[in-house]
């Protein structure tokens, strides 16, 4: 473990930590600009109040809550996907899991932060701690998200330990940090056993927690009596949407870092193909849920529901609705569904389109319902202000910045898991596949004929 030879070609994965190119500084600079815009926007909002946004009566929620739901949705990229793939023992997961987990942790902070941005009195945010009440779905969110955050940080950290140990032994930077975080990892059998067991348990724990997070996020809407929100389907609908957008975000990040850090050897077409197919599956699932959601509203034909329904289908929100349908269904179906178009570029375009589509989905869940209240008061409209745009750009930049900085400290692809795949994966898979098949001494055909 000590020498570079043991690392072999995987030493390439440490290069991004060792060397810093000009591209990095440019990227950080650009992202910092975005963050600064966000900070400036928030400063304006703090001084003048929420009035600087485009919010009004009755559209009292807008970009911030949309971003909250969207970012929390993206967070499902990670932990959930990596946990499911780990549990399913999908071998192709090995270079992907780390990236997915990082997305989760980074984006959860930003998602939860958007709630603070949305507060009229952020100075009183601590009231939630002092006088919180569990009757409010917001408190369910707070609890669920804090559990998910704790869990996903831990879940990101566990598989990092062996890699940190490698860094401790190979890198000249941040020695103290790596030594502390490596927890005295030696790669002993017992340590490996402990770690494997912990990772396995976390993978099991994290899945229900992640599902609970997006379910209670949906409850913020579905627990009210508002038309278009008060729906039992919202929990699973949000979870499916979250995984959908999570995969898309993951693909985008994978492609960015593949290009930036030259990881073509690790992130191969096959990974994108598999993730793309997963994305396609989710796209169908999402479409099914959307269909089920709207067909029940349409068939029920309740006047208040229909006001919101027509606002989305033909009214002032129709452009967002149909763009969403195109982005979330038509484009992925074409670019991934048709084998000829399923190139890396095709998958990238589909992923970007899904991210936009899912953001729009969050938006048109929130705004049309609020702008069409039950009572026949004037219907509202909503146009975000520059402050809201600024904070949105700020949030996305911060997300990117966090991610970029992470790659400067830790390998973005799990070195030990790749190696494990090389060393034990083959035999395991062969064994596993064998176990799937009928035992050799029996002949299935004759058995079938007999039966």
């Amino acid at each position: 473990m000590k020498s570079d030879e043991t690392l072999g070609s995987d030493a390439h994965l440490l290069r991004s930590i060792e060397e810093t190119g000009r591209g990095f500084y440019v990227a950080v600079g650009l992202l910092l600009l975005g963050v600064l815009w966000g900070v400036f926007a928030y400063g304006t909002q703090l001084t003048h109040g929420l009035g600087v946004t485009g919010l009004n009566q009755p559209v009292s929620w807008g970009f911030y809550v949309t971003n909250f739901v969207f970012f929390i949705g993206i967070s499902h990229a990670g932990t959930l996907i990596s946990a499911i793939l780990r549990m399913a023992q999908a071998e192709w997961r090995r270079p992907i899991t780390r990236m997915a987990e990082v997305i989760t942790v980074m984006v959860l902070f930003i998602g939860a932060g958007n709630i603070i941005l949305d507060l009229g009195r952020p100075d009183r945010a601590l009231n939630v701690l002092l006088y919180g009440r569990y009757q409010s779905p917001l408190l369910w969110d707070a609890t669920s998200i804090s559990a998910y955050l704790t869990g996903s940080v831990f879940y990101l950290y566990l598989p990092l330990i062996p890699d940190i140990a490698i860094l401790r032994d190979h890198s000249s930077k941040y020695r103290f940090l790596y030594t502390v975080l490596a927890l005295g990892w030696t790669g002993s059998k017992r340590q490996i056993r402990i770690l494997d067991r912990a990772i396995a348990i976390m993978a099991v724990v994290v899945i229900p927690v992640a599902i609970s997070v997006h379910t209670v996020v949906s409850f913020v809407f579905s627990m009210t009596l508002q038309p278009g929100w008060h729906s039992t389907i919202f929990g699973p609908y949000f979870v499916v949407g979250a995984i959908f957008s999570g995969i898309a975000a993951l693909i985008i990040f994978m492609l960015i870092f593949r290009r930036a850090y030259g990881l073509e050897n690790y992130l191969k077409y096959i990974h994108f193909k598999y993730l793309g197919l997963l994305l396609l599956t989710m796209s169908f699932l999402w479409f099914y849920f959307t269909f089920a959601e709207y067909i029940t509203a349409f068939y029920g034909n309740e006047p208040e529901e229909m006001k919101v329904f027509w606002a989305k289908f033909t009214g002032d929100q129709a452009i967002f609705f149909w763009t969403m349908v195109i982005c979330n269904f038509v484009i992925p179906m074409t670019l991934i569904g048709i084998a000829r178009l399923r190139t890396i570029t095709g998958i990238l375009v589909a992923s970007i389109s899904v991210c936009i589509g899912m953001w729009l989905e969050r938006f048109i869940i929130i705004v049309p319902t609020l702008s069409h209240p039950r009572l026949p008061v004037e219907t509202g409209s909503y146009l975000p202000s520059m402050v809201e745009w600024g904070l949105m750009v700020g949030c996305f930049s911060l997300f990117g910045l966090f991610y970029l900085l992470f790659t400067k400290f830790f390998p973005i692809i799990s070195i030990w898991e790749i190696r494990e795949g090389r060393e034990v994966g083959f035999e395991e898979v062969v064994e596993r596949v064998k176990s799937y098949l009928p035992n050799e001494e029996k002949t299935p055909i004759s058995e079938g004929a007999r039966g």
Binding site: G49, S60, G120, P373
Partner: protein, 232 residues
């Protein structure tokens, strides 16, 4: 203990908006500037809204006053994360301006859209503040506010009864809108007292709750208009 309620007779109501104006004066409701108003940020605890729907953007129809409906089962209270809005023992849906964190969940949850947000600090310091009612606190930026059934008037009436060394009577307490209504269309009182005018009216066959199907059990009840069909 009393359970305060209101009956609004739409057959008497002329839609003149005197109740809304009285409410603004009584409760120090800030007028937002024209620019803010154009952004749909006007605060109207007692809003005048169309009583029937005439299709989208057609305007018109008879107008009716809409205060906070003071639900017995208020959807807004359930969702408040910090006890800033709560039901008092006498059934008034109260709003604690000092506690509110401004998350606007209650606004999103209220099916009657009676909750209003202070998008800016609308308190005026240009002379208008001299006309403020000293019994009602003004609201800072970033909090939600709503009709409180002129709760301060209940407190004042109680205090007055105590000073005058007599028991407090339900008729001592009337919100500003009910007091002002020139057509005497707004009746206010104790719903639990079966002999009170308000509870008798509430049992009238003309009585309707707004969005009754939601089960919010509003304590503000409307008496619908009688229609005489013989006029073609």
């Amino acid at each position: 203990m009393a359970r305060w309620g209101m009956v609004i007779d739409l057959d008497r109501c002329t839609g003149c908006a005197a109740c809304g104006t009285a409410c603004k004066a009584e409760n120090n409701i800030p007028f937002v500037d024209p620019e803010e108003s154009a952004r749909d940020r006007t605060i109207n605890w007692m809003d005048i809204i169309p009583a029937e729907e005439h299709g989208e953007h057609n305007g018109g129809g008879p107008m009716m006053p809409r205060p906070c409906l003071q639900c017995d089962n208020p959807p807004c209270i359930k969702v408040c994360p910090v006890y800033a809005t709560y039901l008092t023992p006498e059934g008034i849906v109260a709003q604690n301006f000092g506690r509110c964190i401004g998350c606007r969940f209650c606004m999103a949850a209220c099916p009657y859209t009676v909750k209003y947000f202070n998008w800016h600090d609308y308190r005026r310091k240009d002379g208008f503040h001299l006309y403020e009612n000293p019994d009602v606190s003004t609201r800072p930026a970033g909090v939600v506010e709503k009709c409180t059934f002129c709760h301060h008037r209940l407190q004042l009436a109680r205090e007055r009864a105590r000073v005058e060394k007599r028991p407090f009577r339900a008729q001592d307490y009337v919100p500003a809108c009910a007091e002002t209504c020139p057509a005497e269309a707004i009746e206010f009182g104790d719903l639990d007292d079966h002999n009170s005018r308000v509870s008798r009216l509430k049992r009238s066959p003309r009585a309707r709750s707004l969005l009754q199907e939601l089960g919010t059990k509003p304590k503000v009840v409307y008496l619908v208009r009688e229609h005489q069909n013989e006029i073609g």
